[in-house]
């Protein structure tokens, strides 16, 4: 079974590190990662459809899961209860925990073209925002939320006092959006922009209010070098994660590689060797010393590319040094 696009580490508030992974086999699994790097399976829960996304609550006591069964559930890790907290008319693609000073809620984005906000106490959403298209990817860093949809649309929301639309931007990319990740301002550490990945091996770095239009740019990634057969293969960018300390970023792609980048120096820090399967998702732990990524088939080559013999794998990598920003001044 394939790992779905999920790789969250527990928030830094917990004494130890946990990872939760959702999968196409409907299961959500939780491991503890110990100081010495060992992992201990902790628990698992099951949806009635593939799990598309998982998110942690800010205090690390709960995990939220979004599923193709059109529901999102809350997993209370203390009591191990697993209850439905959200409902859509189509599979739910994303879920994020929103922690604002005056409210808390779960944001769910679905292929039913809505974004819903749930306060977990009511079976009705506290707010529904219609999307122009199906939700493909989203990220939340209070007070900012970004949603990328089908039809190459990007909508930015502000969550201050309550969620509302802030801005729609013309997509910096020409192909289907696949993943998005918000990054903070270096100095203020308030969210200031986002990286948007598309299926055409390209990532856009986009500031919400760029000081200079040239601050926004796109870069190519996850492409073969074309030396074999003279054809360059272009792969989807499956995930983007920003390093919590250095502000550098990692991208993973259908080509089975991960790359580390410094968006400010606009350089690549590193590219991995190629795995035999696509990397479907990635993430950093709160301290930024572990990079986790999941290798599993992502359907980018359709049915033909599926090989039941190839099992999905999760990898943890010590990464603190590798993601240090580029020293070169350009």
């Amino acid at each position: 079974m394939t790992v779905s696009a999920v790789w969250p580490f527990s928030p830094g508030v917990l004494p130890s590190t946990f990872i939760v992974v959702g999968s196409w086999d409907n299961n959500v699994r939780c491991w503890e990662v110990q100081q010495d790097g060992q992992t201990i399976p902790k628990a698992q829960q099951t949806h009635t459809g593939p799990v598309m996304d998982v998110a942690w609550s800010d205090d690390g006591t709960k995990v939220f899961t979004a599923s193709c069964d059109k529901s999102a559930k809350m997993w209370d890790l203390g009591s191990n209860q697993f209850v439905q907290v959200a409902q859509h008319d189509a599979p739910i693609k994303t879920c994020h925990w929103v922690k604002a000073p005056n409210y808390n809620c779960l944001m769910t984005g679905s292929w039913d073209k809505t974004l819903k906000f749930w306060d977990l106490r009511s079976s009705n959403p506290m707010l529904v925002i219609n999307l122009p298209e199906r939700c493909y990817c989203a990220d939340v860093v209070y007070p900012m939320a970004v949603v990328g949809t089908a039809g190459r649309q990007v909508i930015i929301y502000t969550l201050e006092t309550e969620p509302r639309e802030f801005k729609r931007i013309e997509s910096p990319l020409k192909f289907q959006h696949r993943c998005v990740s918000i990054f903070p301002d270096k100095k203020t550490s308030a969210p200031t922009g986002f990286a948007l990945g598309s299926i055409e091996g390209r990532v856009a770095i986009h500031y919400v209010n760029p000081q200079n239009p040239k601050d926004n740019f796109t870069f190519k990634c996850h492409r073969s070098n074309g030396t074999t057969g003279g054809v360059q293969d272009i792969y989807a960018v499956n995930g983007i994660a920003f390093h919590p300390v250095h502000g550098t970023l990692a991208t993973v792609g259908s080509d089975g590689r991960f790359s580390f980048w410094d968006k400010d120096a606009r350089t690549k820090l590193k590219t991995s060797e190629q795995l035999d399967q696509p990397i479907s998702s990635c993430g950093f732990n709160a301290q930024g010393n572990i990079f986790g990524y999941a290798s599993s088939y992502d359907w980018s080559k359709g049915h033909e590319g599926y090989d039941a013999q190839k099992k999905p794998h999760l990898f943890l990598r010590s990464c603190y040094e590798e993601l240090k920003p580029s020293q070169k001044k350009s």
Binding site: S23, N26, Q34, D36, P41, Q44, G49, C68, D69, S79, N80, Q81, F82, Q84, Q87, H88, K113, L120, S123, L127, V128, P132, R134, A150, Q153, I155, T161, F166, R168, P172, V208, N209, P213, F217, T218, G226, G230, V231, Q232, D233, I234, Y235, A236, S254, T267, K268, K270, I290, S295, W299, S300, G302, K311, P312, H313, L314, F315, R317, S318, E322
Partner: protein, 409 residues
């Protein structure tokens, strides 16, 4: 791509016609793209430099500058940044820039299939061309079309534009003919227009042009607090506009009511059937390219979820309509996350993933850093999980960090 319009000439690369903001970057680009030795990846400084390097070090003859446009392969011309560009080309480029300023989109590659892609190797190299001499008219590439920058590229002899549609008997055009927008060259617009026009729609096949048209607004439109994400910026227009219902687009604010319940007709299934096809990506290097993605423009997840296997699964157990169900979804109510014995240990069961948690697998020049609090010795720690330890590559096989140096974003 938000192309900047600047009156001032920007540094540009003679080999590929790309523009740069800074000559320094241009030089970096040239070293990485055009003057890099394909054998040892050493970056040389000029075309002749590369040629000599390959000859002397690798005993190989390099007769073309890599990644160059047709007709710009000449390795004997010594160009460094903006220095050494043949006068004619310089003028032509300037004229081109001045002429087309904002008239047509810069990117006008064709979508024509790979058959028309230029194989650079097929192009006749203009033999020994001293700098300052216009390229020979022999640079007729059958498939010039997909070259991205050709529009403002070729100076002097214009290649006969083979497969470019309604191009009549115009074999050669006078130099720079098409750089005059409405110039005295009637066939030119005719020839350019169809190709650009026909491509325009395909470039954005999916959606109506701008999302603002699809404006939907939330019921809650509260006090116009400036929700600036960036405190350092003050954008008064922005913040007030976002607080209220966009005064800028009054026409669109009609749909501001939020519909709590979506029409059930919008199911993922319905949309999938109408999925448009993804357009072919454009090659900027002349290399044939292939997008590794199914043809339909829907997400991989949608595609996969539409497989019978998952459809059945989800039809089978429709989610209940009541949202908060007080019942725990599973009977696994053991407190404190204790795992029932055997739940995830032991060999993977048929439905569960084998998960080799691989702590910091192939550590590369990564000594555990002292003072780095958690998980110091991460390298190759024995597994606690009795699962297959699949190291995808042996340690030490990692590429060097900058495996593709000079990669420009």
């Amino acid at each position: 791509m938000g192309r900047k319009k600047k009156k001032q000439m920007k540094p540009w690369c003679w080999y590929c016609n790309r523009e740069f903001d800074d000559e320094k970057i241009l030089i970096q680009h040239q070293k990485a793209k055009h003057f890099k030795c394909h054998i040892c990846h050493k970056k040389l400084y000029t075309g002749p430099g590369l040629s000599i390097h390959c000859m002397q070090v690798h005993k190989e003859k390099v007769d073309k500058v890599p990644n160059a446009l047709p007709g710009r392969h000449n390795i004997d011309i010594e160009i460094y940044g903006m220095e050494g560009i043949p006068e004619e080309d310089m003028k032509a480029h300037e004229k081109e820039k001045a002429g087309k300023d904002g008239v047509q989109p810069k990117k006008s590659e064709t979508e024509a299939g790979p058959s028309t892609y230029t194989t650079p190797g097929l192009l006749p190299t203009p033999g020994t061309m001293p700098p300052g001499m216009p390229p020979m008219p022999t640079t007729t590439a059958s498939g010039m079309a997909p070259m991205p920058h050709m529009m403002h590229g070729h100076m002097g002899p214009v290649p006969p534009m083979g497969p470019m549609g309604p191009m009549g008997p115009m074999g050669h055009m006078p130099p720079m003919g098409h750089m005059v927008p409405n110039g005295p060259m009637p066939p030119m617009p005719m020839q350019m227009m169809p190709s650009t026009m026909s491509r325009m729609p395909t470039n954005m096949p999916v959606k109506p042009l701008f999302p603002a048209a699809g404006q939907t607004k939330v019921t809650l439109s509260s006090a116009p607090v400036g929700p600036d994400f960036k405190p350092t910026m003050s954008m008064p227009g922005m913040s007030s506009a976002s607080g209220m219902v966009r005064p800028t687009f009054p026409a669109y604010s009609t749909s501001s009511a939020s519909s709590v319940s979506m029409a059930t007709s919008i199911s993922a299934k319905a949309t999938i059937s109408a999925a448009p096809t993804i357009k072919k990506p454009e090659s900027s290097s002349g290399m044939a390219i292939k997008l590794v993605h199914p043809d339909e423009d829907i997400s991989l997840e949608e595609m996969r979820a539409s497989l019978p296997k998952y459809q059945m699964m989800m039809e089978g157990n429709r989610a209940p309509t009541s949202v908060v169900s007080p019942m725990p979804a599973t009977s696994m109510a053991s407190p404190q996350m204790s795992m029932p014995a055997g739940m995830m240990s032991g060999p993977p069961r048929s439905m569960s993933m084998p998960m080799p948690m691989q702590p910091g697998a192939p550590m590369m020049m990564m000594p555990p850093r002292p003072g780095m609090p958690p998980m110091p010795p991460m390298a190759a720690v024995p597994q606690s999980m009795p699962m297959s330890m699949a190291y995808p590559y042996p340690p030490g096989m990692m590429r060097p960090p900058m495996s593709q140096p000079g990669c420009r974003f």
